[in-house]
């Protein structure tokens, strides 16, 4: 029963994607965009700035230091 439903859902999506016309171009654009965003932009241009610290305690120290120092040395 569950397998039957899963197959029907799969076929629903499969037939839907196969019958797309303009959708294929859109999917291509979406995939290129996601590649550019997650592989190029995220890795090379947008690393997590606080990711260089190993743990939360180091991040807390860093941010508190930043917040305190910037008030003294704006």
């Amino acid at each position: 029963m569950a397998k039957n439903i899963a197959i029907r859902i799969f076929r629903f999506y499969w037939d839907g994607f196969r019958s797309m016309t303009i959708g294929k171009t859109l999917w291509m654009i979406i995939l290129i965009k996601l590649f550019v965003m997650f592989v190029i932009l995220k890795i090379f241009f947008f690393p997590n700035y606080l990711g260089k610290f190993d743990n939360s305690s180091d991040k807390q120290e860093y941010v508190s230091g930043e917040l305190i120092q910037r008030a003294i040395n704006p």
Binding site: F12, Y13, D15, G16, F17, S19, I22, G23, T25, L26, W27, I29, I30, K33, L34, V36, M37, L41, K42, F45, F46, P47, N48, Y49, L50, G51, S56, K59, Q60, V63, S64, G65, E66, L67, I68, Q69, R70, A71, N73, P74
Partner: protein, 513 residues
Amino acid sequence: MMEAINTSLIDWSRAQFALTAIYHWLFVPLTLGLGVVQAIMETVYYKTGDDFWKKTAQFWMKIFGINFAIGVATGLILEFEFGTNWSNYSWFVGDIFGAPLAIEGIVAFFMEATFIAVMFFGWNKVSKGFHLASTWLTILGATISAFWILVANAWMQYPAGMQFNPDTVRNEMASFWEVALSPVALNKFFHTVLSGWIIGAMFVVGVASWFLLKKRETKFALASVKIGAIFGGIACLLSIWTGDGSAHQVAQRQPMKLAAMEGLYEGREGAGLVAIGLLNPAKTQHDDNKDPFLFKIEIPKLLSFFAERDINAYVPGITDIIEGGYRKKDGTMALSAEEKISRGKLAIQALADYRAAKTDSLKQQARATLDEHFQYFGYGYIKKSSDLIPPVGLTFYTFHLMVILGGFLLLLFAVATYLSCKNKFENKRWLQWTCLISIFLAIIAGQAGWVVAEVGRQPWAIQDILPVSAAISNLSAASVQVTFFVFLALFTVLLIAELKIMTNAIKKGPQID
């Protein structure tokens, strides 16, 4: 010693964020508005069983799909920017900002993603009722998605429901409901969604007008104009109500923004609302005694009414907010900017003392000082009081542009509704041209609204708590400049691709006639 944060880094980071947000906001309102229009058309099909309405709904659904596909995930870039460019901010607000965004991602997005498949693939495969329900649930999912994003944005404008923890250096959520249902969040949600409805409605009326200008698909175009114009007119009327609510909330929580929106330097009782005005470019300081306007037409007492629901109420101007000393609604005297800056410095020093304290009693002492002055924490970063004034010209003109365009669109929808109901729209070519051009005016009005909201609250990343100069990561300005232009190129290419695909689909038409 830490290097000083230069203004170029702040400006480029803000420009990059603004560019991304403006690009993202090209797609979102069309998704919200066009989605409702197509769902209304499918509802008519469900009620009547007339195949014309099915084809009409399917055409708009195709346009909706193109917009949705190109716009999908553009908002994620904003989240990348938070992590890279605004890392102090991200850490400082993590728990509060993270919760609404997580709910948005988990609940709303998956709801949207599930039902959108049925909406596009389910014609003739599921029952009419189930398909219609899927269409409405897709739009509901998109709207709920917008709600959680706007809750996060509203918290930056009005930080509520949180407690600052000096151990973790984070604001922690004290009340989920205070964050989610703050008056600023609710008002922002309704006003923003309504602006999306207006843009979507104008898009439908404008594109349908193009078909009439081309003398194609006449029945489809006239039906689309009628539904779009009625829907847009209702959205415009409701947005007057939410706009009034926005002005009231801004007056209560961000008086400096309201003063900048109105170019109000000297506060007064029974303040009038500037309907049209030309700012005096010679006025460069709030206290230079120069007239802020070269010319203005004012509606008497209306600003006081919007701000305080009392036509004789006092509305503080920019100079008053900087100098303080006026009596606030709660009876207390307003502090001067200098006093707030002093208290902010005390709060920051208390945070430093707390983190350096070796004994519990020293910690408690520092904590008490921090809690007492935390509401002014961000002022401790302000170098001079005039830094608290947002760009008055940009805020004033974008606010008035938004209002004027909103009024124009209401009039346009009213005329279009009247003429389409009287079956006279088809021959009014001047009106069809106006509707077509007005698609861009509606988009400009929506963007102007965001400029008012975001530029008007400068210098704050979080109102009163954290200015952008403290929120920003210590990056090199050059690297931010590079990514700005990378984004500009990427967004331009994607926008050209969208316009090309969308215009091709529109030119093909619904092929009903």
